[in-house]
Amino acid sequence: MFKLFYKLVILFLAFILVDFLLGFTLDSIIDKSPDGRYFKAQYSLESSKEDIMIFGASRAECHIAPSIIEQSLKMTCWNAGRGNQTLPFWISMAEGILKRHTPKLAILDIEADYLSSGLSGSYEPSAGMLRPFYREHKEIRPMINKVSVFEQYFNYSKLYAYNSSYYYLLRPYLIKGLDGKLEDKGWKPVTGQMQPDNSTQTIIDTKRVLNKETVKLFNELISNFTKKGCPVFIVISPRYNEIIKNTSTLDYIRNMKNVYLVNFDDNIIFSKDYRNFRDESHLNKEAAIKFTNVLVEKMIRMNIDSIVEQNK
């Protein structure tokens, strides 16, 4: 029995050594990354100091171009949106950013019915993206720890933290700009065009019950910003062939303090023309530029300067 115990200890020590060496290498790969999704997450968490921060999933990442906002509003802007991520990721990001910097305003792109959807399956993708930063950023730990009670122990291993990340860690060294070019400031435009189809128009007019867990985390995210004097603009991006009339989510947001729902009536201009879309959910690059321009105009009409001033 002693021999077995001894061998297991040797194996454990060898693993710690490998974990340390490979972990050190992987940390360096992220630190020196020219661009890419991990570079973007690290920049958002550790270095971003822009006046306007954009949050959301792939639709935020693809639809809102910071450079257009910068030119029109004369404020710096960074798009921290990330595909396949939802509230757990946004909260972690917001906590990381707000710890050292308060933006003048935040833009959050969500679905019209978002608060009625559950969050099951949202924690793991968020943790998958953020685990490499677990040790250095205490503020992101609560969301990662929701994956399982063992996360806090597993994340002592750097190899675990970098699980399945190697492809996206190394890719920016070989091909630059696949996750968005540096000069686009977090924006990741997509190219291509949908095929015309005969699908019938979807009208979103629903009173689905709000999901308690989603609402709780949403409130947490919003209050993180508003407590620090950062107003939040909520944007509903267009979808192909979809018209939004009303939802419980929209009603809920309209009643929130220091949260500004950007009028989405213009979505119809985009949503009825398939040429604006790469797929049903994503505007292509040309349409995204148009959409950002429309968004900025609306924000100006909402008197954005006085909103920012008011919240200082």
Binding site: L11, F15, S148, N163, S164, Y166, Y167, Y168
Partner: protein, 483 residues
């Protein structure tokens, strides 16, 4: 509790330490208690079912043995059999039978244009299927048959018998262990054997690697494609189907490695369930290498008795027995037509192989051996993949849809999904393929059991690092748990 859960990796060392700390005569009690705990975590609502099976089988076996009158023996045998099969049918198949009867009513109604039933509303009983019921039942039935045949003595120690059916390493998905292999081991003195324990731990590690790093990884792709078959081309569906075969193998053989390895650390030897199945050159050969304990169970208790019973039929007896056996085997997997089609396809191909064996033998003489082997292996792999499409599908019509799309919509483009996930899947397949080739053709170069302790050590370290770096830890339970 599942083998790839953290709970199991806390549970196993605790039981292991206690096992070797207590005297040998009490160890079976520890195994029984820990197996009950193992079952209860996740299946406490249905713990009564294995208890009923254990008691009824134990009592029936003793009564069969004690009575010399063949009629009474038969009655007790049938009593035990009906209780076992009754529980299995009730929990696993009742909803299927109800739905089938209602479907029948609906067809009659449509044909006669008269309202036999006013509205079509199949009743679905909300039953929790007891964990591992198919495996426990098959072991119990096999035991009763052996007692009735007089080829095995009934176990008189109820605790031993309960431990045989409940032994946690094989409780949920086999191997389907024969009583004559397991029960004698309970009475042996299990001293701590370093080599055996290390071998067991290595198998657990390899099984974990297959499940977490390969099967779960492949599942990310196969689920994304096969669950949305209407959105994918035939080429993509073909690739996903090929991946699914490998996922099924790594998932199930990974589970089996963990089961056998877990038993081995306690000094128990369970029956092997796989023997390089993709090296098989025919489907008949394949079923001797795949899920061996199930194949041999149906061979001993269904196929052979039918062949003997119908021996007057000549070749037809073999074909008939094969069809019946594989239809039952398909149905054993689940109460759904897609499983029955899976079994039916195996039966048909085995019949064809049987009826054409002489002509194929003649043909093989004109082809070099190595080419024969490659053709045989490719044919076996592709046919099994084809049949697994029905196995994986939610309904028979889903399976037919996927097959028809594969044959009619093959093109150059295919959906790769996340390139990271796809490429890690390919790396995993490559590792398993190399391991498979090495173990069959170059056993000397086996890495985990290499002569050099440095190579053994580095291999173990590599597997640990690979599992932690590429494992998919939220991949859920093993595929065969549902059966």
């Amino acid at each position: 509790m599942i083998f790839n859960s953290i709970n199991y990796f806390l549970f196993l060392p605790i039981v292991f330490l206690l096992y070797y700390l207590i005297p040998n005569r009490f160890r079976w009690i520890l195994l029984l208690v820990s197996s009950t705990v193992f079952y209860s975590i996740g299946g406490v609502e249905t713990i009564a079912v294995p208890i009923i099976i254990i008691i009824s089988t134990f009592v029936s076996a003793i009564l069969i043995e004690r009575n010399s009158d063949p009629g009474i023996k038969k009655r007790y045998f049938w009593l035990g059999l009906i209780i076992n099969l009754g529980l299995l049918v009730f929990f696993k198949y009742i909803n299927f039978f109800i739905a089938t009867v209602f479907d029948g009513f609906e067809i009659v109604k449509k044909m006669s244009h008269e309202g036999l039933v006013n509205t079509y509303q199949p009743i679905e009983l909300q039953l929790i299927v007891p964990l591992g019921i198919s495996y426990i039942t098959f072991q119990a039935i096999g035991y009763l048959i052996e007692i009735k045949r007089g080829s095995h003595i009934a176990e008189k120690n109820f605790g031993y018998f309960a431990t045989y059916l409940m032994f946690f390493p094989k409780l949920l998905s086999g191997p389907i262990e024969r009583a004559h292999n397991f029960l004698p081991q309970l009475q042996l003195e299990h001293k701590f054997d370093y080599d055996q324990v290390v071998q067991g731990l290595k198998r657990i590690l390899w099984g974990l690697f297959l499940k977490v790093a390969i099967a779960n990884r492949l599942a990310l792709y196969t689920s994304a494609v096969l669950d949305n078959s209407e959105h994918h081309t035939g080429t993509t569906l073909l690739i996903a189907s090929l991946f699914y075969t490998l996922q099924m193998f790594t998932d199930f053989s990974g589970y089996t490695d963990m089961a056998i390895g877990s038993a081995q650390v306690f000094g128990y030897k369970l029956t092997e369930n796989f023997n390089a199945p993709f090296s098989a050159k025919s489907i008949a050969d394949f079923w001797r290498k795949w899920h061996i304990t199930l194949s041999s169970w149906v061979n001993d208790y269904i196929y052979t008795p039918i062949v003997i019973n119908k021996r007057d039929w000549g070749k037809s007896a073999v074909v008939y027995a094969g069809m019946v056996t594989f239809l039952i085997l398909g149905f054993w997997h689940g109460a759904s037509w897609n499983y029955i089609i899976f079994g039916f396809l195996q039966g048909v191909i085995l019949a064809i192989e049987f009826l054409t064996r002489k002509s194929r033998k003649k043909m093989r003489k004109h082809i070099p051996n190595w080419l024969n082997s490659i053709i045989g292996m490719c044919y076996t792999f592709l046919f099994f993949t084809f049949s697994l499409i029905f196995f994986r599908a939610y309904t028979a019509s889903d399976g037919i849809y996927i097959v028809s799309k594969i044959f009619t919509d093959l093109g150059a483009t295919f959906y790769m999904g996340d390139i990271g996930i796809f490429s890690y899947s390919l790396i995993g397949i490559l590792i398993v393929a190399i391991q498979g080739i090495v173990s069959v053709y170059y056993p000397k170069f086996k890495l985990l059991n290499n002569d050099s302790r440095y190579i053994r050590f580095l291999t173990i370290l590599f597997l640990v690092v690979y599992i932690i770096s590429f494992g998919v830890f939220d991949g859920g339970q093993f595929i065969y748990f549902q059966f």
